[in-house]
């Protein structure tokens, strides 16, 4: 269970990872013995029913929660707490409401003391990538849900993270917007080539986006199976109609029924 789909060198190496929530009265094993290696530039999706620990795994990867056992290495280095090398996009809208779209995108750069002109060059580039140039000066409250998530993606990527962690970022969007967002995300990933770990419970979304899919199960949270997605690298709306697509969709649905 430690191969990476792209065959390149591993960016993330997870070994024997476990997470147990203990309270005085009870114990809950959220993750058990996770082994996973994710390659540079790989797009990996974790899929599973609610309560399978996929969000916990992502939060542990981000450093927002500590693992109970096991190790996580990024480029061979153990992680300690959250850091700028692992950007994250949440399901809930987390743009800073007091900053404009451009200021949101530049937030991480500003923390790092990147000079104004350079910041502006970077935010210009990402505003173009997420197709929101006319909204540079808008505040988040003026944006639709899809636009907010696009800015959140740009904000994470502008920081040049080694890994982009995405926790059901399109979960709250309507079907139409969701498909549009998936296309934009792939376009951006195509240009940026960062490592993406994406969480969803939508099988079609997982198939359309990723190169590899890990199916997780609950009680305790664990990886049940891994699947290389046998689809051409170039994904378009037609991809959703390919027989391989529908076949694998059926297989995964069967797996998730248990």
């Amino acid at each position: 269970m430690t191969s990476s789909a792209t065959g390149t060198e591993a960016r993330i190496t997870i070994a024997g990872l476990g997470k147990v929530y203990r309270s005085r009265k009870s114990e809950f094993e959220a993750l058990r013995n996770i082994h996973l290696s994710i390659g540079k530039n790989e797009f990996l999706t974790l899929i599973g029913p609610s309560g399978c620990g996929k969000s916990t795994l992502l939060r542990v990867l981000a450093g927002l929660e500590d693992a109970t056992s096991g190790t996580i290495l990024i480029d061979g280095q153990p992680i300690g707490g959250p850091g700028a090398d692992r950007g994250m996009v949440f399901q809930s809208y987390t743009l800073f409401p007091w900053l404009t779209v451009r200021e949101n995108i530049e937030y991480g750069l500003k923390l790092n003391g990147v000079p104004t002109l350079e910041r502006r060059r970077v935010s210009d580039r990402y505003l173009r990538l997420i197709r929101l140039e006319p909204f540079a000066k808008a505040y988040p409250k003026q944006l639709s849900g899809g636009m907010k998530q696009r800015v959140a993606i740009a904000r994470a990527l502008a920081n040049k993270p080694k890994v982009l962690l995405m926790d059901e970022p399109f979960g709250a969007l309507d079907a139409q917007t969701k498909q549009e967002m998936q296309q934009i995300l792939l376009d951006v990933w195509e240009k940026e080539k960062t490592t993406v770990v994406f969480i969803t419970h939508d099988i079609e979304e997982a198939l359309f986006l990723s190169q590899r899919i890990c199916v997780m199960g609950a009680n305790p949270g664990r990886i049940i199976s891994e699947h290389i997605v046998p689809l051409p690298a170039e994904r378009t709306e037609e991809t959703r109609l390919l027989p391989e697509f529908t076949a694998m969709k059926r297989d995964l649905a069967a797996l998730l029924k248990h």
């Binding site: 959250p82 850091g83 700028a84 950007g87 994250m88 800073f96 007091w98 923390l111 505040y139 988040p140």
Partner: protein, 265 residues
């Protein structure tokens, strides 16, 4: 039988009304109070010593505002309120943020504050006189005590309501703990801080009148007390109305400030 076409009730919960309707209703609400006052005083239902006629109060108001002495009363009262209020905010806001941001801070700070909060500020007056005497500081300190504990507890509560994911995002963008306080927590609570200050300022005016019971010879509270001694009801009304107007002005200023500073809310 009539088909029961259900009439939609005129007053709908939370439903917006036209701004002109709102203004008209607000104005007529004032008009009703004034009309009732006019009616009662002109019909002679109440002795003018208890309830003077509105036009007499207005005349008295104009007369008083024409004197330098009354402006000095206004000025010293505004100074006391501002000093006590600003000191309470300057000390209370950082402490409140600390208590709201850190669980340990909350444990150390909030229980004693909750305890002291229930002690009536007025009961501190004798103690204040022993501590700082009867000078300006006594009045400022009373207003400070009345506001400070409320400020701390309200700020702590406001801070705790910040969406934790906003902090998490800042961590994943490379923010240190201090940077996340500076660039996320504090900007996020600013609008509610202004709303809180607006509320507390109202309390400060209440404490002012109490504070000006302590051996004073200046201020609006003093002017009211002096008028009472001479059964000059018109002047009592003038004092109350002036305090009301000052409160209204400061309240509007805060509302305007809120709108100007936080277009993103």
């Amino acid at each position: 039988m009539k088909a029961a076409a259900r009439r939609r009730p005129r007053l709908q919960i939370f439903k917006d009304i036209y701004p002109t309707t709102f203004t008209a209703l607000a104005v007529s609400s004032f008009a009703v109070i004034l009309a009732a006052w006019l009616l009662v005083s002109h019909l002679g239902l109440v002795d003018p010593v208890f309830l003077p006629k509105p036009q007499n109060v207005l005349a008295e108001l104009i007369r008083q505002l024409g004197t330098g002495e009354y402006w000095r009363h206004i000025w010293i009262s505004v100074f006391r309120v501002s000093a006590g209020f600003l000191l309470a905010c300057a000390a209370g806001i950082p402490i409140g943020i600390f208590a709201g941001a850190f669980r340990a801070g909350s444990a150390v700070i909030e229980p004693p504050m909750e305890f002291i909060r229930y002690m009536p500020a007025v009961a501190f007056i004798p103690l204040i006189m022993v501590w700082v005497g009867i000078g300006e500081w006594a009045k400022i300190l009373l207003i400070f005590i009345g506001c400070f504990f409320q400020v701390v507890l309200m700020v702590a509560d406001i801070t705790r309501r910040v969406n934790p994911d906003l902090l998490h995002v800042s961590y994943t963008l490379g923010a240190s703990r201090w940077q996340s306080i500076e660039t996320v927590l504090i900007p996020a609570i600013r609008p509610e801080l202004v709303t809180m200050m607006r509320l507390i300022l109202g309390w400060a005016w209440t404490y002012l009148v109490v504070a000006e019971l302590i051996a004073v010879n200046s201020g609006l509270g003093y002017a009211i007390m002096k008028a009472q001694r001479f059964l000059n009801t018109e002047q009592i009304f003038v004092g109350i109305i002036v305090i009301g107007l000052l409160g209204l002005i400061s309240d509007r200023m805060f509302a305007l400030l809120h709108k100007r500073l936080f277009p993103w809310v």
